[in-house]
């Protein structure tokens, strides 16, 4: 039985997705996510992995009411643009409803189920952001 989603792609990216590892260009100094072998800003191949902050601020968000199969239980999907200081990241938001959300709130990274490959395939885990739990 073939998979709907690529197992090797998930496997190659899993650590970056679990631990929020980005890339830093040692030539121009820019930070980016996801990490890649060449800097997306200056094309230098002199890049290194960097752990991104797990707390950021929600700059903006949009809502998807008709996402692909595999996301149905989570619909509507709220996708946020998050400021992490040295870079910004686009990520799904969780543990928050449309009535509760607002731009500017502090959010923190968590690892959740991203999608399931039908009923027998791989479960894909990765980063999402939720409102910070104060303590």
């Amino acid at each position: 039985m073939s998979m709907e989603y690529s197992v090797p792609i998930y496997w190659r990216n899993r650590v970056n997705y679990y631990k929020l590892i980005g890339g830093r260009c040692k030539k121009c100094g820019r930070v980016f996510f996801p990490p890649q072998s060449r800097c997306p800003y200056c094309s230098s191949d002199n890049v290194e992995p960097v752990s991104l902050p797990r707390i950021g601020r929600l700059l903006s968000y949009t809502v998807s009411y008709n996402p692909p199969e595999g996301y149905k239980l989570q619909t509507p999907l709220i996708i946020g643009l998050i400021d992490l200081g040295e870079t910004r990241i686009i990520a799904q938001l969780t543990d928050v409803s449309l009535e509760e959300i607002s731009e500017g709130i502090e959010v923190e990274a968590v690892v959740r189920k991203i999608r399931e490959d039908r009923t027998a395939g791989l479960i894909h885990y990765g980063y999402k952001f939720r409102p910070v739990i104060s303590h």
């Binding site: 679990y18 991203i114 885990y125 999402k128 104060s134 303590h135």
Partner: protein, 351 residues
């Protein structure tokens, strides 16, 4: 009895959704006296993107923050659950990878109904004291299943707790001064292969299972350590409902005041492998140096562990490094039975 072991970090996680008992009674036509007799007001429900792995991972992340140790020093990760996301594929490796513990570590999933996490806890005590590993991570986590309409549905809930265990070096959060395990073959609760929901042996769940095993594990531990009820500041028992822990405490001579601080089931239901370990996490959140804690998890099938734990000085510096159990208890959003069936995938869809 073994040499003292130590807890360096503890962590909890409880999903934010709550299903009131009145919703279950409304849908299935239960008499209101049934949920009232369980002493549970509402239960925690995992969100649509959560499972026992993500719950255990967040609890472990909190435990790691409080432990203040390098994750590479952890030599074993054990994940105790009866609601693993995969029948075959360890959750422990995902958690170890996400926390930066891999690759030089053991990692495995354990099963013993509600006490697999406690089995992990005790096995890691042995591994650290024996010198096989420096530190170990024990996790108990569940998204507990219950047949819709069964009385178990009132309490089967979601949550988890995690602990970093090692040898004492004077900086530990607490010392585990002794532990004991009591098991027999008792058919009080089970789930057959490929079955979605467990069954229970009616009256078997109480007297010959829960009460018999906890009473024996606790009495043997106290006799071995020569400790009396008054030596303990807190007593935590497995919490299948809000009534049993108070009853077994009374049987063992512990007053209600020593049990209530670690009793979380009235607020969130029975988190199975979380249960007593979540109670321990809540007590560590508030305990003071020098206080002594009794913990007795239980799992069907059946068995109970008993631990005597003395709080250390450094607990004070560790508490604020992660959310407490109460932080998660107050973070809640009520859902109705319809949303509960969607979040729990009780509604069958063709994909």
């Amino acid at each position: 009895m073994h040499d003292p072991a130590a807890i360096y970090g503890w962590g909890a996680y409880i999903p934010r959704y709550r299903l009131p008992m009145s919703e279950i009674a409304r849908i299935w036509g239960w008499h209101e006296g049934v949920p009232a007799s369980l002493n549970v007001k509402e239960k925690s429900v995992d969100g649509p993107d959560e499972d026992s792995l993500t719950i255990g991972l967040e609890a472990a992340y909190n435990a790691l923050k409080r432990s203040m140790i390098d994750p590479k020093e952890i030599g074993v990760v054990m994940f105790g659950s009866e609601s693993k996301p995969y029948a075959v594929k360890p959750s422990a490796t995902v958690i170890a990878e996400a926390l930066g513990i891999t690759p030089s570590t053991m990692a495995s999933d354990l099963e013993f109904a509600c006490r697999a996490g406690s089995e992990a806890f005790r096995a890691i005590i042995g591994m650290t004291l024996g010198g096989l590993v420096k530190y170990g991570l024990a996790i108990g986590s569940d998204t507990a299943q219950a047949n819709p309409g069964d009385v178990l549905e009132f309490t089967a809930s979601s949550g988890g707790a995690a602990f970093i265990i090692g040898k004492p070096d004077g900086t530990e959060a607490a010392v585990i001064e002794g532990s004991y395990t009591y098991v027999t073959d008792t058919p009080d609760f089970w789930r057959r292969a490929l079955q979605p929901y467990p069954l229970h042996g009616e009256g078997f769940t109480g007297e010959p299972a829960y009460f018999h095993h906890i009473v024996n594990s606790v009495r043997t531990l106290m006799e071995t350590l020569d400790l009396k009820q008054e030596d303990f500041d807190y007593a935590i028992f497995h919490q299948p409902n809000g009534r049993f822990p108070l009853k077994v405490g009374k049987m063992l001579g512990f007053p209600k005041e020593k049990i209530l601080p670690g009793l979380v089931t009235p607020f969130i239901g029975n988190t199975y492998n979380g249960s007593a370990l979540l109670g321990l996490a809540r007590v560590l959140d508030q305990a003071k140096p020098g206080q002594r804690i009794l913990v007795a998890p239980f799992g069907s099938g059946a068995g109970s562990d008993a631990y005597s734990i003395v709080v250390g000085e450094s607990i004070v510096n560790r508490k604020s490094k992660a959310p407490t159990v109460d932080d998660y208890l107050v973070r809640k959003k009520t859902v109705d039975y319809a949303m509960y069936t969607k979040y729990r995938s009780i509604i069958t869809r063709i994909v």
